[in-house]
Symmetry: C2
Subunit: 297 residues, 2 copies
């Protein structure tokens, strides 16, 4: 196969994803479950070389984003402070013993007040802006920790993180509600009901959770409907709290498939039209933008 001109790396807590790149073109892709959370400092280089060893035969640059740059990562890439460009100065070189590899890590962003941090999403934002030059508005990045990001004139102005995905997971699997909630399946009406309930009376979220269990016991709430209603309750509550972000703004939701669709549906119910952008495409565009900056140095 063709030798990679450079390597794109998305290295999160749980997963490592790599692409062999020629300019902005993907030649090959691979992934493993050797995320930052499973590695100690000496484990990063072997985990990377295992995936990309066959793609390189001489000096090659690699550009990485995500938790690989955290204090517990391969090398700490200190946060840049907003407002700033999504791809600010301050990429940090990771120590690699393999003489073929030059690995750069993109810094995350932080906000001093209210305190907030991101690692990885800044690269998707930079990629989205590279694909949509001049775009101003609010970017929503759903996930384990959903981010709402106000972008203007090419800079990240402010952002806010919601633990909605993680709350959905722990409430649905680690609390008493697990007895009443299915592991998969969906009920669109129940999702809409949860969304409405919680958006219109967000202060009652705490009161509504146990009712998922109680309705299963005294009434006929199905485990599938309970799952969708829990999702609606949590996303509705998030939307109520994130209103200062999306109200009167154009919104882009960056992410794949199902979860991004839930946010777009929730925004539509508030008469906020939102465009959806592919998450992997945004990541690759952001890593490519970072690689171009490094080539210029």
């Amino acid at each position: 196969m063709a030798r990679a001109e450079w390597i794109a790396i998305d290295w999160g807590t749980s997963n490592l994803r790599v692409w062999a790149m020629q300019g902005a073109t993907v030649l090959n892709a691979a992934s493993s479950d050797r995320g930052m959370g499973r590695l100690d400092r000496d484990g990063f280089e072997p985990a990377l070389v295992d995936l990309i060893g066959d793609w390189i035969d001489g000096p090659t640059m690699a550009v990485a984003c995500g938790m690989v740059g955290s204090r517990q990562g391969w090398v700490e890439a200190p946060y840049a402070t907003v407002p700033c460009a999504a791809l600010p100065e301050g990429m940090v070189r990771a120590p690699a013993a393999d003489p073929r590899l030059t690995v750069w890590v993109i810094p995350g962003l932080r906000q001093m007040s209210p305190a907030d941090v991101m690692r990885g999403e800044e690269t998707q934002i930079a990629g989205f802006l590279a694909l949509n030059p001049g775009w101003d508005g609010v970017i929503c990045l759903p996930g384990t920790h959903t981010k709402w990001v106000h972008v203007s004139a090419g800079e990240v102005i402010s952002f806010q993180t919601f633990m909605t995905g993680e709350l959905f997971s722990v409430i649905g699997t680690q609390t008493v509600l697990r007895h009443s909630i299915s592991a998969d399946g969906w009920d669109e009406a129940a999702y809409g009901q949860g969304l409405d309930d919680s958006f219109s009376r967000p202060e009652r979220l705490a009161a509504r959770l146990f009712s998922l269990r109680a309705e299963a016991l005294v009434s006929t709430l199905s485990p599938t409907a309970a799952r969708a209603r829990l999702s609606g309750l949590l996303i509705g509550s998030e939307l109520a709290a994130a209103k200062p972000y999306w109200l009167g703004q154009q919104v882009a939701v960056i992410g794949a498939g199902t979860v991004a669709g839930l946010y777009i549906k929730a925004l539509a119910a508030q008469h906020v039209p939102a465009i959806q952008a592919d998450g992997e495409r945004a990541t690759l565009a952001g890593l490519t933008a970072a690689w171009r900056k490094l080539k210029e140095i």
Copy 2:
């Protein structure tokens, strides 16, 4: 030692507590970790006899409350539907092979709309009412699943469950916040701050959780302060949602020590004076009232 006249049993999901009783007087007490959650149907009688075998030498009545009466318990004691007395008709006899034992199980209460259920707290409510005849108002029973209960003319009128205790536990130990939250310790100012934040703007709860992590990363929030603030955020949110219960009512908080104190402090901040009643005393008074009813049969 003196033979027990009867046996009082509080049998929850996690623990089994028993008392050797003479009328309303405690002769002896014991407990084990053989809660309902760890037993199959054949395991209940041996778990009980292991604790009380030495206290009985002839036919003895035992009265039990809690999850022992759930569908997964020793015998199902079907819910009574509110409004009704805290100790309604419908105690169910559990099948015991030991000829000395007659074991009665107190039914839980259910509410059809909004759906809700309790098992065990109804006995504490009955006990509190036995100790405070004619009391009308709202009873708050803090715990893994906190209950707010409207009581009038000796009946339970309505109630609502909040998963506050369980949410505190899973959010503090099973999510990313665990890295920023201590396992114990306390910071009174941080508790008050979380309480105020969340009570005054409950719709922002979802936004405030991740800030506990972010402030630890970009600022100087201590793990102890983060723990107290999380508690304040969740209790403040509960208080906002439970306002229809406590507003303009006299309130009694039934429970031991620390957690009951947190609720009393939170209510005091809203200018609601609340009395505190001991949980174990209420349980024993409720079981004693049930035993007296059974003796009359």
